[in-house]
């Protein structure tokens, strides 16, 4: 229910901001060359990301997150769960067929807070007033007749709530909740839960930031945050480095010799489509759950990608470059060193970016399965203890680090292979 509402709000904000920004920026169009193109639908080069849309998109995400989690950072909220005192009356009929009303005061409070039952008077008549406490997002099976005169006799029944008749399998809305009656006449009171997400499902942004501060200063499960993330990174770098160390020469050999190509083609082509995650069980059986197993897994994840990248780099060399180098007197070794290797660098960088992404995803998954330390271990342990805020924090950090790795690789690419895509 809340999920559908979130989607609806998101779509509405998407459309509304598009129309509003469109109307506001209609007059201040840039007068550069692209703005003068009349055909933009289908011209990829004329489609430039609207920066307003990007900024608003991020703001909208946080607004919705905050609005649906009761964040204090966000001014607008959807109705939250009811907290405070609410009352309703019930009408009971005793064995003699007489009816009487009584009032119930319910105090809904934050879970874990110290609160007393609301003070009440018994009232007159055979039905006596009740008082009870319910934690937020919880409900209570109420035995309204518990303190009533004749409440335990056969023939006693609750027949109405707030004056509205109720029977088995029926329910009645009160001021701040819903009373339902089951088949055997038992009554269950659920205070209004509002439209916000329970913190168990989605914590508010500030709770996640709090979790970050907590874990950063106190650590989590015997390791500091830096250790958790650092170990994951070290595993990735180790596995990737080994994979590149073996995969690149293997790819070169496959690109340069028909025997190597023929020998390794079946292996590479078979292993390439096997997702590294599918190897986790076998790797654990062979190498155990310690560092060796993880490094081997990441090595296998990077190996085939790097080998195929290096092979493509060699195959992609323009034959005229090789011919030219031979005619300039270069030896085979010199051609490998000065022509084939530099020429394959763009392909190798592309493969390295893919491999780093795959390794990062694989390490987190491997840590989900078994680890003492690591980003994946942190979120999977937190989920077992229902610490959703640590889970969300961990996911965000994993995403940020993955993104940072890719940005770094792209920067390195721009510096080291400036000729990429320009020949």
């Amino acid at each position: 229910m809340t999920g559908l509402l979130i989607v609806a709000v998101y779509v509405a904000l998407f459309v509304a901001s598009m129309l509003v920004v469109g109307a506001l920026t209609a007059r201040s169009r840039r007068r550069d060359f692209t703005s003068l193109k009349t055909v933009t639908f289908g011209d990829e080069s004329a489609v430039r990301p609207n920066r307003w849309a990007s900024v608003i998109s991020v703001i909208v995400l946080f607004l919705i997150w905050g609005a649906f989690t009761g964040s204090k950072l966000v001014p607008i909220h959807v109705p939250g769960p009811f907290v405070g005192d609410t009352t309703f009356t019930y009408t009971a009929r005793n064995a003699a067929g007489e009816t009487d009303d009584a009032t119930v005061v319910v105090r809904v409070h934050a879970v874990g807070a110290e609160v007393d039952d609301p003070a009440i008077e018994e009232g007159d008549g055979f039905a006596k007033n009740d008082a009870t406490r319910i934690g937020v997002y919880r409900s209570e099976l109420m035995r309204l007749g518990r303190n009533d005169e004749g409440g335990r006799e056969d023939g006693y029944a609750v027949v109405a709530i707030d004056g509205q008749p109720i029977g088995p399998n029926g329910s009645v809305r009160t001021a701040h909740g819903t009373m339902t009656m089951n088949e055997r006449g038992g009554t269950n009171f659920v205070p209004d839960q509002g439209l916000q997400m329970q913190p168990l499902y989605l914590p508010s942004p500030e709770r996640v930031v709090e979790a970050l501060v907590e874990v950063a200063s106190d650590g989590y499960r015997n390791f500091t945050l830096v250790e958790h993330l650092g170990w994951s990174l070290i595993r990735v770098l180790g596995g990737f480095a080994l994979g590149a160390l073996v995969g690149i020469p293997l790819g070169y050999a496959m690109g340069l010799s028909d025997w190597f190509r023929g020998w390794f083609d079946p292996i590479v082509e078979f292993m390439r489509p096997v997702p590294p995650l599918a190897l986790i069980p076998l790797v654990i059986i062979w190498f155990g759950i310690n560092e060796t197993g993880k490094i081997v897994l990441l090595f296998l994840a990077a190996l085939w990608i790097m080998a195929i990248g290096a092979r493509a780099g060699v195959s992609g060399v323009n034959i005229t470059k090789v011919h030219a180098a031979y005619s300039l007197g270069a030896s085979k070794w010199q051609i490998l060193r000065h022509v084939i290797i530099p020429n394959s660098l763009p392909e190798i960088f592309t493969a390295a970016r893919v491999a780093m992404g795959v390794c990062w995803g694989t390490v987190v998954a491997a840590e989900l399965v078994a680890a003492n330390v690591g980003a994946g271990m942190m979120i999977t342990t937190a989920s077992k203890f229902q610490q959703t805020y640590v889970v969300v924090m961990g996911i965000i950090l994993i995403g940020v680090i993955g993104f940072a790795i890719d940005i770094l690789m792209r920067k390195a690419e721009a510096v080291l292979v400036p000729w990429k895509g320009r020949s």
Partner: protein, 267 residues
Amino acid sequence: MTGLRIESVSMRFDLPNGSYVQALKDVSLDLAKGELMSVLGPSGCGKTTLLNIVAGFLAPTQGRVVLNGHDVKGPDAERGMVFQQGALFEWMSVRENVEFGPRMKGVPAAQRREGADRLLQITGLGDFKDKAIYELSGGMQQRVALARCLANDPDVILMDEPLGALDALTREKMQGLVLKLWKETGKTIVLITHSVEEALLLGERLLVMAPRPGRIHKEYRLPFAELGVSTDLREVKTHPDFATTREEILSMIWEMEEEIMGRMEDA
């Protein structure tokens, strides 16, 4: 004995479907040191195959190529190549490209730098020494290719449509440069082209080849290259013999093309 000698070279290879291709049949040719020869012919006449055999990238099935008294066995720095495009090394600067040959031979840095500077000056690239290859225009890139080839001081320069990818104006300028370099360096040059005009301008000797099987059809000795060294190329084109020779060669090639078309229709 100096010079390039092609002795009854034939080239024939099998196709996967069991038939074969006779790319070249019994081609013989003598080229003295310092001669400039252009090669023309319809597509499929084997002119690029012939060039690749001389360069040493392909082995002929019969015959041999002899340069300065020894057989050609494979590619070597004595036979420089200039390709149409894509042969420069993008990961090196203009200067590094030009220095590549001497560097592979182990020429000391100072010496090869001096040689590269001189060639870059001659080819009009003095101000572009440290530029990256992808920053240069197509014409500039071909200047680098010429300079790189000359830096190695080869005995023969083989050019495979070196100006084919350039626009008409740049092409005219570059034709002048090729003539100038030929005269200044005294190199033996074999140049393949698709343009009859270019073949006339850049051919002391002009070879017309015929297809299926690839063979020499006719050879000319022309005065225009020598003329073009001292005169403007556009004036050379106004020479009375120029137009008549061009027409003669054009109709010759047209006939060959039509014959091919006719044979294809028969089949």
